[in-house]
Protein backbone atom coordinates (compact mmCIF):
# COMPACT_ATOMS: atom_id res chain seq x y z
CA UNK A 1 0.00 0.00 0.00
CA UNK A 2 3.04 2.20 0.47
CA UNK A 3 3.50 2.16 -3.29
CA UNK A 4 -0.06 3.36 -3.86
CA UNK A 5 0.36 6.17 -1.38
CA UNK A 6 3.62 7.22 -3.02
CA UNK A 7 1.84 7.08 -6.36
CA UNK A 8 -0.83 9.45 -5.09
CA UNK A 9 1.80 11.78 -3.68
CA UNK A 10 3.55 11.60 -7.02
CA UNK A 11 0.40 12.42 -8.96
CA UNK A 12 -0.28 15.30 -6.63
CA UNK A 13 3.18 16.76 -7.04
CA UNK A 14 3.05 15.90 -10.71
CA UNK A 15 -0.04 18.00 -11.37
CA UNK A 16 1.68 21.03 -9.85
CA UNK A 17 4.65 20.41 -12.12
CA UNK A 18 2.19 19.94 -14.97
CA UNK A 19 0.65 23.35 -14.28
CA UNK A 20 4.10 24.93 -14.34
CA UNK A 21 5.00 23.05 -17.50
CA UNK A 22 1.83 24.29 -19.21
CA UNK A 23 2.76 27.85 -18.38
CA UNK A 24 6.32 27.25 -19.46
CA UNK A 25 5.48 25.75 -22.81
CA UNK A 26 2.99 28.57 -23.40
CA UNK A 27 5.79 31.11 -22.92
CA UNK A 28 8.23 29.10 -25.00
CA UNK A 29 5.58 28.78 -27.70
CA UNK A 30 4.61 32.43 -28.09
CA UNK A 31 8.07 33.91 -27.70
CA UNK A 32 10.06 31.13 -29.34
CA UNK A 33 12.59 31.61 -26.56
CA UNK A 34 13.20 29.82 -23.30
CA UNK A 35 13.41 31.39 -19.91
CA UNK A 36 15.35 30.75 -16.75
CA UNK A 37 13.20 33.20 -14.80
CA UNK A 38 10.29 30.86 -14.37
CA UNK A 39 11.30 29.51 -10.98
CA UNK A 40 11.43 33.06 -9.66
CA UNK A 41 7.96 33.75 -11.03
CA UNK A 42 6.69 30.70 -9.15
CA UNK A 43 8.46 31.95 -6.03
CA UNK A 44 6.79 35.34 -6.31
CA UNK A 45 3.41 33.62 -6.61
CA UNK A 46 4.15 31.58 -3.49
CA UNK A 47 5.15 34.66 -1.51
CA UNK A 48 2.06 36.55 -2.64
CA UNK A 49 -0.10 33.79 -1.23
CA UNK A 50 1.95 33.74 1.97
CA UNK A 51 1.31 37.43 2.56
CA UNK A 52 -2.33 37.05 1.54
CA UNK A 53 -2.84 34.34 4.13
CA UNK A 54 -0.81 35.83 6.95
CA UNK A 55 -1.54 39.55 6.53
CA UNK A 56 -4.89 39.76 4.79
CA UNK A 57 -6.26 36.50 6.09
CA UNK A 58 -8.12 35.79 2.86
CA UNK A 59 -9.25 32.36 1.74
CA UNK A 60 -7.67 30.24 -0.94
CA UNK A 61 -9.48 31.43 -4.09
CA UNK A 62 -8.60 35.14 -3.71
CA UNK A 63 -5.06 34.12 -2.76
CA UNK A 64 -4.69 32.23 -6.02
CA UNK A 65 -6.15 35.21 -7.87
CA UNK A 66 -3.59 37.51 -6.26
CA UNK A 67 -0.84 35.03 -7.09
CA UNK A 68 -1.97 34.97 -10.72
CA UNK A 69 -2.06 38.75 -10.99
CA UNK A 70 1.29 39.33 -9.25
CA UNK A 71 3.05 36.73 -11.37
CA UNK A 72 1.35 38.07 -14.51
CA UNK A 73 2.60 41.59 -13.81
CA UNK A 74 6.07 40.19 -13.25
CA UNK A 75 5.67 38.43 -16.58
CA UNK A 76 5.08 41.78 -18.29
CA UNK A 77 8.23 43.19 -16.71
CA UNK A 78 10.23 40.15 -17.82
CA UNK A 79 8.81 40.52 -21.30
CA UNK A 80 9.91 44.15 -21.50
CA UNK A 81 13.40 43.45 -20.20
CA UNK A 82 14.29 40.10 -21.69
CA UNK A 83 12.21 39.37 -24.77
CA UNK A 84 10.88 42.39 -26.56
CA UNK A 85 14.19 43.63 -27.95
CA UNK A 86 15.56 40.19 -28.67
CA UNK A 87 12.77 38.41 -30.54
CA UNK A 88 14.78 38.51 -33.77
CA UNK A 89 18.29 38.34 -32.29
CA UNK A 90 20.27 35.15 -31.67
CA UNK A 91 18.49 33.06 -29.04
CA UNK A 92 21.28 32.94 -26.52
CA UNK A 93 21.12 36.71 -25.89
CA UNK A 94 17.66 36.63 -24.36
CA UNK A 95 18.59 33.41 -22.58
CA UNK A 96 21.49 35.09 -20.79
CA UNK A 97 19.21 38.04 -20.14
CA UNK A 98 16.73 35.74 -18.37
CA UNK A 99 19.57 34.27 -16.30
CA UNK A 100 20.46 37.80 -15.22
CA UNK A 101 16.81 38.59 -14.55
CA UNK A 102 16.40 35.48 -12.39
CA UNK A 103 19.47 36.43 -10.33
CA UNK A 104 18.03 39.92 -9.98
CA UNK A 105 14.58 38.78 -8.82
CA UNK A 106 15.94 36.15 -6.45
CA UNK A 107 18.29 38.55 -4.71
CA UNK A 108 15.75 41.35 -4.58
CA UNK A 109 13.36 38.85 -3.02
CA UNK A 110 15.96 37.97 -0.40
CA UNK A 111 16.19 41.63 0.53
CA UNK A 112 12.46 42.36 0.42
CA UNK A 113 11.10 39.14 1.94
CA UNK A 114 14.06 38.23 4.15
CA UNK A 115 16.35 35.25 3.62
CA UNK A 116 14.79 32.80 6.07
CA UNK A 117 12.31 30.07 5.20
CA UNK A 118 8.80 31.00 6.29
CA UNK A 119 6.19 28.49 7.40
CA UNK A 120 2.80 28.84 5.76
CA UNK A 121 -0.14 29.37 8.11
CA UNK A 122 -2.25 26.23 8.36
CA UNK A 123 -5.42 26.66 6.39
CA UNK A 124 -6.39 23.08 6.06
CA UNK A 125 -6.14 20.85 9.07
CA UNK A 126 -4.59 17.48 8.63
CA UNK A 127 -7.89 16.01 7.56
CA UNK A 128 -7.95 13.10 5.16
CA UNK A 129 -10.28 10.63 3.55
CA UNK A 130 -9.66 6.92 4.01
CA UNK A 131 -10.27 4.81 0.94
CA UNK A 132 -9.66 1.27 2.01
CA UNK A 133 -6.02 1.27 3.05
CA UNK A 134 -4.88 4.50 1.46
CA UNK A 135 -5.31 8.02 2.74
CA UNK A 136 -5.83 11.07 0.61
CA UNK A 137 -5.59 14.40 2.38
CA UNK A 138 -7.98 17.26 1.69
CA UNK A 139 -5.07 19.33 0.46
CA UNK A 140 -4.26 16.77 -2.21
CA UNK A 141 -7.85 16.71 -3.35
CA UNK A 142 -7.88 20.50 -3.48
CA UNK A 143 -4.69 20.59 -5.58
CA UNK A 144 -5.98 17.98 -7.99
CA UNK A 145 -9.29 19.83 -8.26
CA UNK A 146 -7.68 23.21 -8.90
CA UNK A 147 -5.38 21.89 -11.59
CA UNK A 148 -8.14 19.95 -13.34
CA UNK A 149 -10.46 22.97 -13.35
CA UNK A 150 -7.66 25.21 -14.61
CA UNK A 151 -6.71 22.85 -17.41
CA UNK A 152 -10.33 22.58 -18.53
CA UNK A 153 -10.62 26.38 -18.51
CA UNK A 154 -7.39 26.68 -20.47
CA UNK A 155 -8.51 24.14 -23.03
CA UNK A 156 -11.73 26.08 -23.50
CA UNK A 157 -9.75 29.31 -23.78
CA UNK A 158 -7.38 27.90 -26.40
CA UNK A 159 -9.98 26.17 -28.51
CA UNK A 160 -13.01 28.43 -28.37
CA UNK A 161 -12.01 32.03 -27.73
CA UNK A 162 -10.55 34.40 -30.25
CA UNK A 163 -7.51 35.44 -28.22
CA UNK A 164 -6.80 31.80 -27.42
CA UNK A 165 -6.74 30.99 -31.10
CA UNK A 166 -4.51 34.02 -31.70
CA UNK A 167 -2.10 32.65 -29.11
CA UNK A 168 -1.99 29.28 -30.79
CA UNK A 169 -1.47 30.79 -34.21
CA UNK A 170 1.41 32.93 -32.98
CA UNK A 171 3.13 29.97 -31.40
CA UNK A 172 2.73 27.97 -34.60
CA UNK A 173 4.04 30.58 -37.00
CA UNK A 174 4.66 34.20 -36.14
CA UNK A 175 4.88 35.46 -39.70
CA UNK A 176 1.79 33.68 -40.92
CA UNK A 177 -0.14 34.91 -37.89
CA UNK A 178 0.90 38.48 -38.67
CA UNK A 179 -0.25 38.04 -42.29
CA UNK A 180 -3.76 37.06 -41.28
CA UNK A 181 -4.07 40.08 -39.01
CA UNK A 182 -3.12 38.83 -35.57
CA UNK A 183 -1.45 41.50 -33.47
CA UNK A 184 1.71 39.51 -32.80
CA UNK A 185 3.28 41.93 -30.34
CA UNK A 186 0.36 42.15 -27.95
CA UNK A 187 -0.41 38.46 -28.30
CA UNK A 188 3.14 37.61 -27.31
CA UNK A 189 2.82 39.86 -24.30
CA UNK A 190 -0.52 38.31 -23.30
CA UNK A 191 0.77 34.76 -23.74
CA UNK A 192 3.80 35.52 -21.68
CA UNK A 193 1.86 37.02 -18.81
CA UNK A 194 -0.73 34.21 -18.82
CA UNK A 195 2.11 31.68 -18.72
CA UNK A 196 3.70 33.50 -15.81
CA UNK A 197 0.33 33.81 -14.08
CA UNK A 198 -0.13 30.05 -14.26
CA UNK A 199 3.30 29.76 -12.69
CA UNK A 200 2.07 32.03 -9.91
CA UNK A 201 -0.90 29.76 -9.19
CA UNK A 202 1.44 26.78 -9.21
CA UNK A 203 3.53 28.68 -6.67
CA UNK A 204 0.51 29.09 -4.40
CA UNK A 205 -0.21 25.36 -4.62
CA UNK A 206 3.45 24.48 -4.00
CA UNK A 207 3.54 26.73 -0.94
CA UNK A 208 0.47 24.96 0.43
CA UNK A 209 1.85 21.53 -0.43
CA UNK A 210 5.29 22.00 1.16
CA UNK A 211 3.81 24.38 3.76
CA UNK A 212 6.79 26.70 3.57
CA UNK A 213 8.17 29.39 1.27
CA UNK A 214 11.69 30.70 0.80
CA UNK A 215 13.22 33.17 -1.65
CA UNK A 216 15.65 30.58 -3.00
CA UNK A 217 13.03 27.94 -3.78
CA UNK A 218 12.91 29.16 -7.38
CA UNK A 219 16.15 27.55 -8.54
CA UNK A 220 15.18 23.89 -8.42
CA UNK A 221 11.52 24.59 -9.11
CA UNK A 222 12.35 26.47 -12.30
CA UNK A 223 14.51 23.59 -13.45
CA UNK A 224 11.69 21.17 -12.73
CA UNK A 225 9.27 23.24 -14.79
CA UNK A 226 11.81 23.48 -17.59
CA UNK A 227 12.52 19.75 -17.43
CA UNK A 228 8.84 18.88 -17.47
CA UNK A 229 8.17 21.09 -20.46
CA UNK A 230 11.15 19.77 -22.42
CA UNK A 231 10.32 16.20 -21.44
CA UNK A 232 6.82 16.45 -22.84
CA UNK A 233 7.80 18.54 -25.84
CA UNK A 234 8.15 22.30 -25.73
CA UNK A 235 5.76 22.87 -28.59
CA UNK A 236 2.96 20.84 -27.12
CA UNK A 237 1.01 22.16 -24.15
CA UNK A 238 -0.78 18.90 -23.39
CA UNK A 239 2.48 16.98 -23.78
CA UNK A 240 4.20 19.33 -21.37
CA UNK A 241 1.51 18.64 -18.79
CA UNK A 242 2.10 14.91 -19.30
CA UNK A 243 5.82 15.47 -18.81
CA UNK A 244 5.20 17.23 -15.51
CA UNK A 245 2.99 14.44 -14.27
CA UNK A 246 5.59 11.87 -15.29
CA UNK A 247 8.41 13.65 -13.47
CA UNK A 248 6.33 13.98 -10.31
CA UNK A 249 5.45 10.30 -10.26
CA UNK A 250 9.02 9.21 -11.10
CA UNK A 251 10.46 11.29 -8.28
CA UNK A 252 8.11 9.94 -5.68
CA UNK A 253 8.49 6.34 -6.79
CA UNK A 254 12.26 6.79 -7.10
CA UNK A 255 12.77 7.87 -3.50
CA UNK A 256 11.37 4.52 -2.40
CA UNK A 257 14.65 2.99 -3.59
CA UNK A 258 17.06 5.84 -2.93
CA UNK A 259 17.65 8.45 -0.28
CA UNK A 260 15.47 11.54 -0.45
CA UNK A 261 18.52 13.68 -1.10
CA UNK A 262 18.78 12.14 -4.54
CA UNK A 263 15.24 13.13 -5.51
CA UNK A 264 16.38 15.83 -7.92
CA UNK A 265 19.01 13.57 -9.42
CA UNK A 266 16.22 11.26 -10.59
CA UNK A 267 14.42 14.06 -12.38
CA UNK A 268 17.53 15.36 -14.13
CA UNK A 269 18.87 11.95 -15.10
CA UNK A 270 15.51 11.08 -16.55
CA UNK A 271 15.47 14.34 -18.46
CA UNK A 272 18.98 13.94 -19.86
CA UNK A 273 18.23 10.42 -21.06
CA UNK A 274 15.06 11.58 -22.80
CA UNK A 275 16.87 14.51 -24.39
CA UNK A 276 19.56 12.25 -25.76
CA UNK A 277 17.18 9.68 -27.16
CA UNK A 278 14.39 11.96 -28.35
CA UNK A 279 15.42 15.62 -28.27
CA UNK A 280 12.00 16.89 -29.29
CA UNK A 281 10.47 15.45 -26.11
CA UNK A 282 8.27 12.45 -25.49
CA UNK A 283 5.17 13.89 -27.12
CA UNK A 284 6.69 16.51 -29.39
CA UNK A 285 6.74 16.36 -33.13
CA UNK A 286 10.07 16.15 -34.88
CA UNK A 287 11.70 19.34 -36.06
CA UNK A 288 8.94 21.67 -34.93
CA UNK A 289 10.84 23.77 -32.45
CA UNK A 290 14.33 25.02 -33.12
CA UNK A 291 15.89 26.59 -30.10
Amino acid sequence: MYILEQLINGVCQGVIYALMAIGYSLIAGVTGLVTFTYGEVVMVGAFTSYYCFSLLGVSIIPAMLFGFVAAGILGIVIHKVCYERFLDSPKYISLICTIGMSMLIRNLAQIVFGTETKGMPKIFGNGFIELGLIRISYLQILILGVVIVLSLTLTFFFVKTKSGMALRSVSQDRKAAAFVGVNVRSTTLIGNSIGCGLGGIAGVLLALYYSNVSPIMGGTIGLKAFSSAVLGGLDNVAGAAGGGLLIGVCENLGIMFMSTGLRDVIAFTFLIIVLLVKPQGLFGRKGVIKL
Binding site: L223, V265, I272, L276
Partner: protein
Protein backbone atom coordinates in the same frame (compact mmCIF):
# COMPACT_ATOMS: atom_id res chain seq x y z
CA UNK B 1 32.30 54.07 -35.74
CA UNK B 2 35.64 54.21 -34.06
CA UNK B 3 37.39 57.47 -33.50
CA UNK B 4 40.85 58.08 -34.93
CA UNK B 5 42.52 58.10 -31.52
CA UNK B 6 41.06 54.74 -30.57
CA UNK B 7 42.25 53.32 -33.88
CA UNK B 8 45.75 54.61 -33.36
CA UNK B 9 45.83 53.31 -29.79
CA UNK B 10 44.80 49.91 -31.05
CA UNK B 11 47.52 49.97 -33.69
CA UNK B 12 50.07 50.92 -31.06
CA UNK B 13 48.96 48.08 -28.81
CA UNK B 14 49.05 45.62 -31.67
CA UNK B 15 52.57 46.64 -32.60
CA UNK B 16 54.00 46.36 -29.10
CA UNK B 17 52.00 43.35 -27.96
CA UNK B 18 54.99 41.38 -26.77
CA UNK B 19 56.47 44.23 -24.71
CA UNK B 20 53.12 44.97 -23.07
CA UNK B 21 52.75 41.29 -22.24
CA UNK B 22 56.20 41.05 -20.67
CA UNK B 23 55.70 44.30 -18.77
CA UNK B 24 52.35 43.18 -17.36
CA UNK B 25 53.78 39.81 -16.31
CA UNK B 26 56.62 41.61 -14.50
CA UNK B 27 54.14 43.94 -12.82
CA UNK B 28 51.99 40.99 -11.77
CA UNK B 29 55.07 39.30 -10.38
CA UNK B 30 56.05 42.41 -8.42
CA UNK B 31 52.58 43.16 -7.06
CA UNK B 32 52.64 40.99 -3.92
CA UNK B 33 56.01 42.50 -3.01
CA UNK B 34 54.49 45.97 -3.06
CA UNK B 35 51.18 45.01 -1.48
CA UNK B 36 51.81 43.66 1.96
CA UNK B 37 48.38 42.98 3.43
CA UNK B 38 47.47 39.30 3.29
CA UNK B 39 43.85 40.21 2.67
CA UNK B 40 44.61 42.06 -0.57
CA UNK B 41 46.87 39.21 -1.62
CA UNK B 42 44.04 36.73 -1.07
CA UNK B 43 41.83 38.82 -3.35
CA UNK B 44 44.49 38.74 -6.03
CA UNK B 45 44.72 34.95 -5.70
CA UNK B 46 40.95 34.75 -6.10
CA UNK B 47 41.04 36.92 -9.21
CA UNK B 48 43.68 34.70 -10.80
CA UNK B 49 41.78 31.54 -9.85
CA UNK B 50 38.69 32.91 -11.56
CA UNK B 51 40.77 33.98 -14.54
CA UNK B 52 41.54 30.29 -15.03
CA UNK B 53 37.95 29.20 -14.55
CA UNK B 54 36.47 31.91 -16.76
CA UNK B 55 39.06 31.31 -19.47
CA UNK B 56 38.29 27.61 -19.50
CA UNK B 57 34.59 28.38 -19.86
CA UNK B 58 35.41 30.89 -22.58
CA UNK B 59 37.20 28.15 -24.55
CA UNK B 60 33.93 26.20 -24.65
CA UNK B 61 31.38 29.01 -24.97
CA UNK B 62 33.41 31.63 -26.74
CA UNK B 63 35.29 29.59 -29.31
CA UNK B 64 32.94 26.84 -30.47
CA UNK B 65 29.72 28.58 -29.51
CA UNK B 66 28.56 25.63 -27.40
CA UNK B 67 26.48 26.79 -24.50
CA UNK B 68 27.77 25.39 -21.23
CA UNK B 69 26.16 26.96 -18.18
CA UNK B 70 27.03 24.23 -15.70
CA UNK B 71 30.72 24.96 -15.42
CA UNK B 72 30.58 24.59 -11.62
CA UNK B 73 30.10 20.85 -12.16
CA UNK B 74 33.45 20.53 -13.91
CA UNK B 75 35.10 22.71 -11.27
CA UNK B 76 33.62 20.42 -8.60
CA UNK B 77 35.00 17.31 -10.29
CA UNK B 78 38.50 18.81 -10.32
CA UNK B 79 38.30 19.81 -6.66
CA UNK B 80 36.88 16.52 -5.45
CA UNK B 81 39.37 14.47 -7.46
CA UNK B 82 42.23 16.30 -5.79
CA UNK B 83 40.58 16.23 -2.36
CA UNK B 84 39.77 12.51 -2.43
CA UNK B 85 43.11 11.40 -3.86
CA UNK B 86 45.16 13.42 -1.42
CA UNK B 87 43.23 12.44 1.69
CA UNK B 88 43.04 8.71 0.90
CA UNK B 89 46.27 8.04 -1.03
CA UNK B 90 48.37 11.05 -0.05
CA UNK B 91 49.37 11.97 -3.60
CA UNK B 92 51.45 15.09 -4.02
CA UNK B 93 50.08 18.41 -5.22
CA UNK B 94 52.26 18.52 -8.31
CA UNK B 95 51.03 15.15 -9.55
CA UNK B 96 47.44 15.96 -8.69
CA UNK B 97 47.38 19.16 -10.76
CA UNK B 98 47.56 17.32 -14.11
CA UNK B 99 45.68 14.29 -12.76
CA UNK B 100 42.61 16.26 -11.69
CA UNK B 101 42.81 18.13 -14.96
CA UNK B 102 42.81 14.86 -16.89
CA UNK B 103 39.95 13.37 -14.86
CA UNK B 104 37.87 16.49 -15.45
CA UNK B 105 38.77 16.44 -19.13
CA UNK B 106 37.56 12.84 -19.35
CA UNK B 107 34.27 13.85 -17.73
CA UNK B 108 34.01 16.79 -20.11
CA UNK B 109 34.64 14.47 -23.03
CA UNK B 110 31.97 12.05 -21.78
CA UNK B 111 29.35 14.79 -21.51
CA UNK B 112 30.20 16.13 -24.91
CA UNK B 113 29.73 12.81 -26.72
CA UNK B 114 25.96 12.59 -26.34
CA UNK B 115 25.44 16.34 -26.48
CA UNK B 116 27.17 16.93 -29.80
CA UNK B 117 23.89 16.70 -31.63
CA UNK B 118 22.06 18.99 -29.22
CA UNK B 119 22.18 22.67 -30.01
CA UNK B 120 21.81 25.82 -27.98
CA UNK B 121 19.28 25.57 -25.26
CA UNK B 122 19.14 21.78 -25.07
CA UNK B 123 22.88 21.63 -24.54
CA UNK B 124 22.53 24.34 -21.89
CA UNK B 125 19.89 22.28 -20.12
CA UNK B 126 21.99 19.12 -20.15
CA UNK B 127 25.04 20.92 -18.75
CA UNK B 128 22.89 22.55 -16.09
CA UNK B 129 21.40 19.20 -15.12
CA UNK B 130 24.87 17.64 -15.11
CA UNK B 131 26.21 20.31 -12.77
CA UNK B 132 23.31 19.83 -10.39
CA UNK B 133 23.65 16.02 -10.50
CA UNK B 134 27.35 16.25 -9.65
CA UNK B 135 26.62 18.56 -6.72
CA UNK B 136 23.86 16.33 -5.36
CA UNK B 137 26.01 13.21 -5.67
CA UNK B 138 28.81 14.99 -3.81
CA UNK B 139 26.31 15.97 -1.15
CA UNK B 140 24.85 12.49 -0.72
CA UNK B 141 27.70 10.03 -1.29
CA UNK B 142 28.99 10.37 2.25
CA UNK B 143 31.58 7.55 2.13
CA UNK B 144 33.48 9.05 -0.76
CA UNK B 145 32.96 12.78 -0.53
CA UNK B 146 32.20 13.37 3.12
CA UNK B 147 28.63 14.33 2.28
CA UNK B 148 27.43 17.58 3.84
CA UNK B 149 30.61 17.81 5.95
CA UNK B 150 32.80 18.03 2.88
CA UNK B 151 36.49 17.10 2.83
CA UNK B 152 38.48 18.78 5.56
CA UNK B 153 42.18 19.01 6.45
CA UNK B 154 43.63 18.90 2.98
CA UNK B 155 47.41 19.10 3.58
CA UNK B 156 49.54 21.98 2.34
CA UNK B 157 51.50 21.37 -0.86
CA UNK B 158 55.24 20.79 -0.51
CA UNK B 159 57.72 22.40 -2.88
CA UNK B 160 61.27 20.95 -2.69
CA UNK B 161 60.90 20.19 0.99
CA UNK B 162 59.35 23.53 1.90
CA UNK B 163 55.69 23.63 2.93
CA UNK B 164 53.70 26.23 1.05
CA UNK B 165 51.42 28.10 3.40
CA UNK B 166 51.87 31.85 2.86
CA UNK B 167 49.45 33.63 0.52
CA UNK B 168 52.40 35.04 -1.40
CA UNK B 169 53.59 31.53 -2.28
CA UNK B 170 50.10 30.53 -3.41
CA UNK B 171 49.99 33.74 -5.41
CA UNK B 172 53.05 32.78 -7.40
CA UNK B 173 51.73 29.25 -8.01
CA UNK B 174 48.40 30.47 -9.34
CA UNK B 175 50.12 33.22 -11.34
CA UNK B 176 52.29 30.66 -13.10
CA UNK B 177 49.31 28.36 -13.60
CA UNK B 178 47.21 31.18 -15.06
CA UNK B 179 49.99 32.34 -17.40
CA UNK B 180 50.64 28.78 -18.59
CA UNK B 181 46.89 28.32 -19.10
CA UNK B 182 46.60 31.46 -21.19
CA UNK B 183 49.69 30.55 -23.22
CA UNK B 184 48.39 27.05 -23.94
CA UNK B 185 45.04 28.51 -24.95
CA UNK B 186 46.80 31.04 -27.17
CA UNK B 187 48.70 28.25 -28.89
CA UNK B 188 45.57 26.15 -29.30
CA UNK B 189 43.47 28.96 -30.70
CA UNK B 190 46.07 30.03 -33.22
CA UNK B 191 46.55 26.51 -34.46
CA UNK B 192 44.58 24.60 -37.06
CA UNK B 193 42.28 23.22 -34.37
CA UNK B 194 41.54 26.67 -32.99
CA UNK B 195 40.63 28.02 -36.41
CA UNK B 196 38.35 25.03 -36.89
CA UNK B 197 36.68 25.78 -33.52
CA UNK B 198 36.02 29.35 -34.60
CA UNK B 199 34.63 28.18 -37.91
CA UNK B 200 32.18 25.95 -36.03
CA UNK B 201 31.09 28.94 -33.96
CA UNK B 202 30.58 31.16 -36.96
CA UNK B 203 28.74 28.73 -39.20
CA UNK B 204 28.44 25.08 -38.41
CA UNK B 205 27.01 24.02 -41.75
CA UNK B 206 29.59 25.87 -43.78
CA UNK B 207 32.48 24.49 -41.78
CA UNK B 208 31.10 20.99 -42.20
CA UNK B 209 31.13 21.56 -45.95
CA UNK B 210 34.76 22.60 -45.72
CA UNK B 211 35.61 19.26 -44.21
CA UNK B 212 35.77 20.14 -40.52
CA UNK B 213 35.02 17.12 -38.35
CA UNK B 214 32.51 18.88 -36.15
CA UNK B 215 31.75 16.09 -33.73
CA UNK B 216 35.35 15.34 -32.93
CA UNK B 217 36.34 18.98 -32.61
CA UNK B 218 33.43 19.82 -30.32
CA UNK B 219 34.42 16.99 -27.99
CA UNK B 220 38.08 18.00 -28.04
CA UNK B 221 37.05 21.53 -27.28
CA UNK B 222 34.89 20.52 -24.34
CA UNK B 223 37.64 18.31 -22.92
CA UNK B 224 40.27 21.02 -23.46
CA UNK B 225 38.17 23.58 -21.59
CA UNK B 226 37.31 21.09 -18.85
CA UNK B 227 40.99 20.29 -18.28
CA UNK B 228 41.76 23.81 -17.05
CA UNK B 229 38.65 23.89 -14.89
CA UNK B 230 39.96 20.71 -13.25
CA UNK B 231 43.40 22.22 -12.67
CA UNK B 232 41.80 25.29 -11.13
CA UNK B 233 39.65 23.00 -8.98
CA UNK B 234 42.74 21.17 -7.71
CA UNK B 235 44.42 24.46 -6.83
CA UNK B 236 41.35 25.74 -4.96
CA UNK B 237 41.08 22.49 -2.98
CA UNK B 238 44.65 22.97 -1.74
CA UNK B 239 44.30 26.69 -1.26
CA UNK B 240 41.10 26.61 0.83
CA UNK B 241 42.12 23.28 2.47
CA UNK B 242 38.43 22.44 2.49
CA UNK B 243 35.80 21.50 -0.09
CA UNK B 244 32.11 20.98 0.28
CA UNK B 245 29.28 20.64 -2.16
CA UNK B 246 27.85 24.10 -1.49
CA UNK B 247 30.93 25.67 -3.08
CA UNK B 248 29.71 24.34 -6.43
CA UNK B 249 26.10 25.46 -6.67
CA UNK B 250 24.48 26.66 -9.86
CA UNK B 251 25.10 30.19 -8.62
CA UNK B 252 28.81 29.51 -8.72
CA UNK B 253 28.38 28.40 -12.33
CA UNK B 254 26.43 31.56 -13.13
CA UNK B 255 29.13 33.56 -11.40
CA UNK B 256 31.76 32.17 -13.76
CA UNK B 257 29.38 32.67 -16.67
CA UNK B 258 28.85 36.28 -15.61
CA UNK B 259 32.60 36.89 -15.77
CA UNK B 260 32.80 35.53 -19.29
CA UNK B 261 29.77 37.48 -20.44
CA UNK B 262 30.71 40.80 -18.84
CA UNK B 263 34.36 40.54 -19.85
CA UNK B 264 33.70 39.32 -23.34
CA UNK B 265 33.41 36.05 -25.21
CA UNK B 266 35.73 34.85 -27.92
CA UNK B 267 38.85 36.72 -26.89
CA UNK B 268 41.54 35.69 -24.44
CA UNK B 269 41.58 39.04 -22.67
CA UNK B 270 37.78 39.05 -22.12
CA UNK B 271 37.55 36.55 -19.23
CA UNK B 272 40.54 38.21 -17.54
CA UNK B 273 38.79 41.58 -17.58
CA UNK B 274 35.55 39.91 -16.47
CA UNK B 275 37.24 38.20 -13.53
CA UNK B 276 38.85 41.44 -12.40
CA UNK B 277 35.58 43.41 -12.67
CA UNK B 278 33.38 40.82 -10.99
CA UNK B 279 35.79 40.20 -8.12
CA UNK B 280 36.25 43.95 -7.65
CA UNK B 281 32.48 44.33 -7.42
CA UNK B 282 32.46 41.58 -4.83
CA UNK B 283 34.97 43.51 -2.74
CA UNK B 284 33.38 46.93 -3.20
CA UNK B 285 30.00 45.58 -2.12
CA UNK B 286 31.38 43.33 0.60
CA UNK B 287 29.69 45.20 3.43
CA UNK B 288 26.34 44.95 1.64
CA UNK B 289 26.87 41.48 0.25
CA UNK B 290 23.24 41.03 -0.71
CA UNK B 291 23.54 43.81 -3.28
CA UNK B 292 26.54 42.16 -4.87
CA UNK B 293 24.59 39.62 -6.91
CA UNK B 294 22.08 42.30 -7.85
CA UNK B 295 24.92 44.30 -9.34
CA UNK B 296 26.07 41.29 -11.39
CA UNK B 297 22.56 40.68 -12.56
CA UNK B 298 22.03 44.26 -13.66
CA UNK B 299 25.44 44.28 -15.34
CA UNK B 300 24.59 41.10 -17.26
CA UNK B 301 21.29 42.55 -18.48
CA UNK B 302 22.87 45.88 -19.45
CA UNK B 303 25.62 44.01 -21.26
CA UNK B 304 23.08 42.05 -23.27
CA UNK B 305 21.21 45.23 -24.16
CA UNK B 306 24.24 47.28 -25.12
CA UNK B 307 27.06 45.00 -26.14
CA UNK B 308 26.15 41.29 -26.34
CA UNK B 309 29.72 40.19 -27.04
CA UNK B 310 30.93 41.66 -23.74
CA UNK B 311 33.33 44.47 -22.94
CA UNK B 312 36.32 43.07 -24.76
CA UNK B 313 34.55 40.35 -26.72
CA UNK B 314 35.13 39.42 -30.32
CA UNK B 315 33.37 42.17 -32.29
CA UNK B 316 33.62 40.36 -35.61
CA UNK B 317 31.90 37.18 -34.43
CA UNK B 318 28.39 35.81 -34.14
CA UNK B 319 28.26 37.18 -30.61
CA UNK B 320 27.99 40.76 -31.82
CA UNK B 321 24.53 41.55 -33.12
CA UNK B 322 25.61 44.76 -34.75
CA UNK B 323 28.73 43.86 -36.60
CA UNK B 324 31.09 46.57 -37.62
CA UNK B 325 30.42 47.76 -41.13
CA UNK B 326 32.95 46.74 -43.72
CA UNK B 327 36.45 47.71 -42.80
CA UNK B 328 38.11 50.68 -44.40
CA UNK B 329 40.33 48.57 -46.58
CA UNK B 330 37.42 46.59 -47.96
CA UNK B 331 35.58 49.82 -48.70
CA UNK B 332 38.54 51.22 -50.60
CA UNK B 333 38.90 47.98 -52.49
CA UNK B 334 35.27 48.10 -53.48
CA UNK B 335 35.55 51.69 -54.65
CA UNK B 336 38.53 50.77 -56.78
CA UNK B 337 36.60 47.95 -58.36
CA UNK B 338 33.62 50.15 -59.22
CA UNK B 339 35.73 52.91 -60.71
Amino acid sequence: MRSKIANQAKKLIDKNKLYILIASIIILGMLPVIIREDYTRSIMIKILLYVMLASSLNIINGYTGQFNIGHAGLYAIGSYTAGILVTTFGWSFWILLPVSGMVTAIFGFLISIPTRKLAGIYLALVTLGFSEIIRLICLNWTELTGGPMGIKNIPRPIFFGATIKEPIQFYYIILVLAIVTILLMYRAIHSRIGRAWISIREDQTASRFLGVNINRLKSTNFAFGAFFAGVAGCFSAYYYQFISSDMFTLDEGFNILAMVIIGGQGTLIGPIIGSVIVNMITEVFRFVSEYRLITYAVLIIIMMWVRPQGLAGASDSVFATKRRKRSRRARLHRRRLTE
